[in-house]
Symmetry: C2
Subunit: 245 residues, 2 copies
DNA sequence: AACCAATTCAAACGGTCGTTTGATTTTTGC
DNA sequence: GCAAAAATCAAACGACCGTTTGAATTGGTT
């Protein structure tokens, strides 16, 4: 058994940022090629619908390379999500910390917290060329994937950022009951996720193609307005509709 | 080739509602057993992750029954969605028509339109025992499924209701530009879909289980408050955050 | 009782799946 | 320049996939 197969995760190469010259190209080239091919194909055909033969053919590597470098298809999926999601959620935490430093103890504006949360997603969504947009969409799909392992991974990767932002909102909105706040954050997270993931709904609603459909800055402004209004909505007490006139 | 295999869709049995006695039991029993087993398993393991062998074993029917009664696995999926979605969207159209009749020409309240749209989803979500809740979740998954055929089917099944409601909102909010309205409906649809589909996010946010997490009436009130506020949000003109103090 | 169409059944079809193997090639450290 | 480690490769593994077949069974109609 010459192939190490497992525990190949960052054992060496922890000092890779230096050494800018010599062999800097094919550092983890095969791993990267596999992950990038997987990002594209998983979006097109789903996780189960993408076979390792499709995947390795597109990446231009041998079929056995996935199992050699990642251990299994599932481990590849985990590595794929960690690669982009860990930095993104670290950026979320940093953005919130920056806001709090700037505020110097004063309460944060809810809209500012929302913006700090959604900004990393939209920055990555802007990167259509480098695969960021595709990854954001894949992410939205992963939230509703049946696989228990994948959903557990998503929860794990988001847990820290989710807690930080929940607490920040609690401080910014001390009058809103925690349970009510949880629901609104839930709605907000869903709106963000669905908006960046869905591909056909918008056309269905508008009845025509929107020219600015993919302008991340416009989406960000509109999302921010929508989410802020929803977060700050009056608390529902009793049925208050029915005045249809 | 004794098996009809195709075009078995409602050819006979169009007069099935009458004849309440005699042989009323096994009318379409095998078809129904297959669909109901499929609803449960597709939610647990996904469409591709559910094999016909699993499915027919759970339904207690022969492996060949799916291809005999539906023609193929894909045709089963289509029949499964049509079975619940066609009546649900017909109910949506009827609810909107009822509102307009009651209003007698006067403009509708946006919140009333929203309620009419989300109510059928929540009524089905209430039906946990009969599989309605499971189906609503499966529906949310279908929106983001990679399969082009499935997404096309969803668009087709929703097209009529979507157009009716879009036009109703346009009449109720004549001052809101169509493009802005389309975005907000997009956000609203996403929030509804994600809220009823996701299973883990809420726990992640709240950090604990919510006792009333599945109370459809409470979800409906909270969704309504959130969506109405978002729909009626002030139009974003320029960046208006930044006042972190 | 005999017929016929509808349905169910066990078995098999050709293909594709994720993974493993053992040899071969390439790269690395000395 | 050479031995060890890392990586790539073609080929095969057993398992499972959706679908088809043709015979057996069922149930209703004369």
């Amino acid at each position: 058994m010459p192939a190490p197969q497992k525990d190949r995760r960052g054992a060496l190469r922890t000092i890779s940022p230096e050494r800018p010259e010599k062999a800097a190209r094919p550092e983890h080239e095969t791993r990267t090629r596999i992950i990038e091919a997987a990002e594209a194909l998983f979006m097109l055909h789903g996780f189960e619908g993408t076979s390792l033969r499709m995947l390795t053919a597109r990446a231009g590597v041998n079929l056995a390379a996935v199992n050699y470098h990642f251990g299994s298809k599932d481990a590849l999926i985990e590595a794929l999500f960690r690669r982009r999601l860990d930095p993104m959620n670290a950026e979320r935490a940093a953005g919130l910390a920056r806001l709090e430093t700037e505020a110097g103890g004063r309460p944060l504006a809810p809209a500012a917290i929302i913006r700090a949360f959604i900004a990393p997603s939209l920055r990555m969504f802007e990167d259509a060329r480098g695969g960021g947009r595709n990854f954001i969409r894949l992410l939205g799909r992963a939230y509703t994937d049946p696989s228990r392992g994948l959903r557990a991974l998503m929860g794990q990767l988001y847990a820290d950022a989710m807690t930080r932002y929940r607490d920040a909102f609690r401080r910014a909105l001390p009058g809103l009951p925690h349970e009510e706040l949880s629901w609104r954050l839930y709605f907000m997270f869903g709106t963000l996720s669905y908006t960046l993931t869905a591909t056909d709904t918008m056309q269905l609603i508008a009845g025509s193609k929107q020219a600015d459909r993919y302008d991340a800055r416009l989406i960000e402004q509109r999302l921010l307005a929508f989410l802020t209004a929803g977060l700050l909505a009056a608390e529902p007490r009793e049925n208050k509709v029915r005045q249809a006139a």
